[in-house]
Symmetry: C2
DNA sequence: CGAATGCTTGACTGCGGTCAAACGATGTGG
DNA sequence: CCACATCGTTTGACCGCAGTCAAGCATTCG
């Protein structure tokens, strides 16, 4: 009998096995080691789920957001210009939060909209944990902080894409980005990963027109770098995509 | 005799009058009320100045930056693509910092280059203040935090510009942004404000080519929205610029 | 089954990039 | 002091990536 098996009998597993860990928890756990109590706190949050459908407004913007944790589906932070043009600032996927990190107050001033059906939970306890560093939930606090740093890193990558890359490069880089994020949350399988966005949404994120997004996706598919079916995507050659994206 | 005058005699002025306050201090003081001790701490930092010329590397990137406070001149955070294309992520002006805010660790992973001649100072004391919230320097800590929030806000504005605005709109918005920043630092006079950037630098910031930056600046000048001379800029009609920029 | 939504394609246009050359300002060494 | 080099700005000609317009398909849904 393996020692691991003995361990498992003596004390309850401090952290649930990844197999049945929900994506949001899995993402947080990938950012910093979490104790059993910390797992439990997040689970508590996730107990009462609110489900909204695509297009719903999760946060109107203009004020600081109430703390929420995304459990399933995608949302996006977006800004609208006076004449109706829109720019998506970033996507929120399972495990991502709004209104939790004090350092993201400015980010939380922009509107958040559900891009697909979204399950979310009240994340007030997480906001408390993030605020004061003296609790027993230091691992969780670090995970939240780390989540914010990653979001900032993605913003910078996106800035470079929009400023200096063409449609082809932008799309390649963005796909890699999404893959990496969903992989952390355990949402990437051999059959690919969920990509619940219309080409219009993608256009608003990549700073392109819908028509050109379509052309670009087709090119990627033609070249065997992207497969799309039933809202799922597969990237058969990620290293090639990375070359195209200039490792951004 | 006014009570203020009495106050002034009894204890030394807690905060120097703005008239002779150097720009960096003035910016910080505009972000949060600072005590005399806090002023003094910053002054201490600013005692030993290091001067570098345009083009110098203030921070090579790839690692967390050593804390520094910009006292004079402009620097920029920039990223370079494998093929040489460059994107400037943001400018650092008097009162701005690198390597100080823990929440900006990712930002501080990119290279920082002097755009003009730059005077900077060791900001390690500020990094300490920013880190622990229990010191007597709470106002300064808040100013540093606020500075970071503003930088994030500017990143988001820039993202929208690059994603959804044309050259004319981008330039207008960027000029307003610079004006607002320098105004906080007390660097805007009737004769305008310093704009120590070549058109090539501007191109790398706005995601345009040098030639097109030139054309765009000329258009703004032709329309009486911008005056440029000897490295200084004046914006005769800021409300018009704001319309063009879509208030971004 | 029609209506709505999203995807796809083609034709045309235009903003902004590229290339090239000239010009002005500044600086440097003979 | 001038010849020359360098750097930044300016202008013109041309081109191409991506936007716009418009129509036709494909799916989904009531």
């Amino acid at each position: 009998m393996l020692t691991q098996d003995i361990d498992r009998r003596i004390r309850p597993a401090p952290a649930p096995r990844t197999v049945d860990t929900p994506p949001a928890l899995r993402l947080l756990a990938s950012l910093a080691p979490l104790s059993g109590a910390e797992f439990e706190l997040v689970r508590q949050c996730a107990r009462r789920v609110e489900r909204v459908q695509a297009g719903s407004i999760l946060h109107p913007g203009g004020e600081v957001a109430t703390p929420r944790l995304i459990l399933a589906g995608w949302a996006c932070r977006m800004r609208t210009l006076p004449d109706g043009r829109r720019q998506i600032l970033g996507f929120l996927m399972p495990g991502d939060m709004i209104g939790v990190r004090p350092g993201s107050r400015r980010l939380d001033m922009d509107a958040v909209t559900a891009v697909s059906r979204v399950d979310s939970a009240d994340a007030s306890p997480l906001a408390v944990v993030a605020e004061d560093g003296t609790t027993a939930y230091r691992g969780l606090a670090r995970a939240i902080e780390s989540s914010g740093e990653l979001e900032l890193a993605r913003l910078l990558d996106q800035l470079v894409r929009l400023g200096r890359q063409n449609a082809y490069e932008r799309t390649a880089g963005w796909l890699l980005d999404v893959h990496a994020r969903l992989d952390r949350a355990g949402l990437v399988e051999k059959a690919g990963f969920p990509l619940p966005v219309t080409q219009e949404v993608l256009a608003d994120a990549l700073g392109l027109s819908v028509v050109h997004v379509n052309r670009t996706l087709q090119q990627l598919r033609r070249e065997g770098l992207l497969q799309l079916q039933a809202g799922r995507a597969t990237l058969p050659d990620r290293s090639r995509l990375a070359e195209i994206a200039g490792r951004v």
